[in-house]
Symmetry: C2
Subunit: 195 residues, 2 copies
Amino acid sequence: MKKRPRSRSVLFLTSNRHKFAEAQTILKPFNIKLIQKPAKGIEIQSDSVEEVARVCAKDAYGRFCVPLLVEDSGLFIGALNGFPGAYSAAIYNQVGCEGILRLLAQERRRFARFVCALAYADSRGVRVFKGIVSGKIASKIHKGAGFGYDPIFIPKGHTKPFSAAPETKAKLSHRARAFKAFGRFLAKQAKHDTR
Amino acid sequence: MKKRPRSRSVLFLTSNRHKFAEAQTILKPFNIKLIQKPAKGIEIQSDSVEEVARVCAKDAYGRFCVPLLVEDSGLFIGALNGFPGAYSAAIYNQVGCEGILRLLAQERRRFARFVCALAYADSRGVRVFKGIVSGKIASKIHKGAGFGYDPIFIPKGHTKPFSAAPETKAKLSHRARAFKAFGRFLAKQAKHDTR
C-alpha cells in the first residue's frame, strides 16, 4: 500500500494578512500547512520581483533553517515604464490607486501586468515560482473586495477589476498562479520522498 | 614642525557620473582624493536613505576592505506622503519630473525636501553624514543644469530651481551639506592621526 503524503509545514514570511489568507486558500488542496511569520527580513532594491524574493528567501533560510516562502509582487504599467513595479507596496502607501490614475490621465495605453515571484527555500536551495496576469488599468477606482491595486486592475478578457470579481481573482491572479505552481511542485516532491 | 596631513584616497561607490563630479568638487578643499567605483553593491528596500546607505557601505567594506563612501539621496514630498523618497532614482527613470508634477496637479501644498545620506566605512566602522535642504516643488519644469529632480526643486528662500541656479545648488544642496560634513570629519581625523 502506498503511503499517503504527509501534510507539510511551510513558513510564509509576510506581514500582509490579505496575502496570507489568499495563499492559505490556494494551498489547501495541496495538503500544505502555511504558518505566517510577520518578519520579512532583508529586501533588496531591484526592478525584478524575482530577485527581491530570491535574495530575501536565501537570507531568511540562513537564519531560520526551516522550509519557507517569500513572495514579492508588483504591478508593471507599460505606459509608465514599469512603474510602480518592484516598489508597488511602498508606492501604494504613498500615492495609492489615485496616484496611478492621475499619472495615466489622458493616456490611452492602459496595458499593465501583475507579476508575483514566490521564492521557496529549503535545504536544497531556493526555487522561484512566477505567476503573471496581463490586463489593463481601469479609468476609475472600483471599490470592493481585494487590496492594493485590485480596484484598478482589469484582467485581460474581463470587464471588471479584481476588486469587483474576487472569484476571477482567486482563479487567475498572479499570486494564485505562482502559489499553484508551488503547490504542484511540493506535492510532486512529497510523493517522490515517500516512495 | 607639524606634518602636513596626507591626501587621503576614498572609494566612492556610484555609477552616477553627475554625483561623482559634484562630490569631487565639494571635497577638493579637504585634501581628499575620490576614486569612482561604478559597482554599488547591495541596496536594501527601506524608506530611510540613511539605512540604505549604511547597509550598503557595511556590505561593501566587507568586500573591498578599503575606506569607502556610499551615498543615497531622496526627494521627499509632503503632499505625497514622502513619495518618491528612498526610491527616487528608480522612480525618476520611470515617471520623471513630469510624473511628479502630474501627481501634484491642483495641489497647493508643495513642500518637499531633499535628503542625502552619506555613509563612510573604514576599519573603525560606518558613520553616516546627513544633508537636508528644504524647499518646494515648482509648477513647471525648468530645464538647465543639474540632473534628476533639480528642474522642479526650488530651495527655501529662493525663486529658481536647482537646475537654473547651479551655484546655489553647489552651496546649499543636500549633497553639498553631507559631503562637507564628511570632509570636515576626515580633515579633523587626519590632523589627529598625524599628531
